[in-house]
């Protein structure tokens, strides 16, 4: 199924939760916040949160800025 992550369209398998998605994509799970369809999913919910077709996911962190 197709989803959008940080603006890019990608294909993933069905029935994946957020935690596994991070692992499969080599995304460091520290110092990040995740939004699915503009709703923040707190870290404790990553395991429960199943990704659905068409989900828009943002993986956010702190970068340099003034």
């Amino acid at each position: 199924m197709n989803i959008i992550v940080n603006g890019d369209k990608i294909s993933i398998e069905k029935n994946i939760n957020l935690e596994n998605f991070l692992k499969l994509n080599n995304i460091n799970n520290k110092n990040i916040v995740i939004e699915v369809n503009k709703i923040i999913i707190t870290k404790s919910m990553w395991k429960e949160k199943k990704i659905k077709e068409g989900d828009v996911i943002e993986i956010i962190t702190a970068v340099g800025g003034g």
């Binding site: 890019d8 994509n25 080599n26 995304i27 993986i59 962190t61 702190a62 800025g65 003034g66």
Partner: protein, 256 residues
């Protein structure tokens, strides 16, 4: 002599940004050298598809020692700024945010209307807002009245290093204020920071002036002393300016 923001006392009146450094070690060393106790960060998308061991800025800033202030840089609407504020709060676990809503990509000047809308909403959501704004005197007061904990007018546009181009407006904003006024953006070198403090600003927030200098660690130290000097001069109250020359030594007992 100290600055109080969100019920926390800061010994340094300098706040620095974390952008544009060559690497995170330079950011860390400049922060140390500046004596600042607060550092801003931007809340943006992570780079995907990279090494999981890739360093993160937050690993270089000791959050026990320094207050990390998330900003809403890159937002042009109130809705986006509110969204980024919520993400920053989730990431850093605090309700303090630097609200920045810009008008356009060319000038990077604040969007006054959207800033006001976002500030009102964020106050309702329980945020403590340090708000980046223009030198509009009436707007600065309004932002204070709706509950912003610090108002941060620009000295000149972001990243220009042109220094203080609006001292009359800044003075008026400072005169009217009951919350800290922090000059944010436009500082180019140490003397600019000193002038801001001599005007009576409660603090200075700067980034490029340090990061884009040839020697950021040395410039960070210069900024530390510039802010201290300016504040002391403000508190000491400068001498009157005279149109007539007045000798420093007594006229009595001169040989001629």
């Amino acid at each position: 002599m100290s600055l109080i923001l969100n019920n926390k006392l800061y010994n340094s009146r300098l706040i620095i940004g974390s952008g544009k450094y060559k690497n995170f070690n330079e950011t860390k060393n400049a922060l140390k050298s500046s004596g600042a106790e607060m550092i801003t960060v931007a809340i943006k998308r992570t780079n995907l598809g990279q090494d999981t061991n890739q360093e993160n800025l937050l690993n270089f800033i000791d959050s026990k020692k320094y207050k990390i202030l998330p900003n809403t840089a890159g937002c042009f609407t109130a809705d986006d700024a509110i969204r980024v504020s919520l993400l920053g709060k989730e990431l850093l676990g605090d309700n303090l945010v630097k609200l920045e809503v810009l008008a356009d990509k060319d000038t990077l000047l604040p969007n006054e209307e959207e800033t006001l809308v976002a500030a009102k909403e964020l106050v309702k959501l329980g945020f403590s807002i340090m708000v980046y704004t223009t030198d509009n005197v009436a707007l600065a007061k309004e932002l204070e009245e709706i509950g912003c904990i610090a108002v941060m007018p620009l000295a000149s546009p972001i990243g220009t290093g042109k220094g203080i181009m609006n001292s009359k407006n800044l003075k008026k904003i400072i005169y009217n204020a009951n919350v800290p006024i922090i000059v944010d953006a436009g500082i180019g070198t140490a003397s600019d920071a000193t002038i801001a403090m001599e005007l009576g600003c409660d603090g200075v927030l700067l980034n490029s002036a340090i990061a884009m200098s040839d020697n950021p660690i040395l410039m960070a130290e210069a900024m530390k002393y510039a802010v201290i000097s300016g504040r002391k001069a403000y508190e000491a109250k400068r001498m009157e300016i005279s149109d007539i020359a007045i000798p420093s030594s007594n006229k009595k007992n001169s040989i001629s």
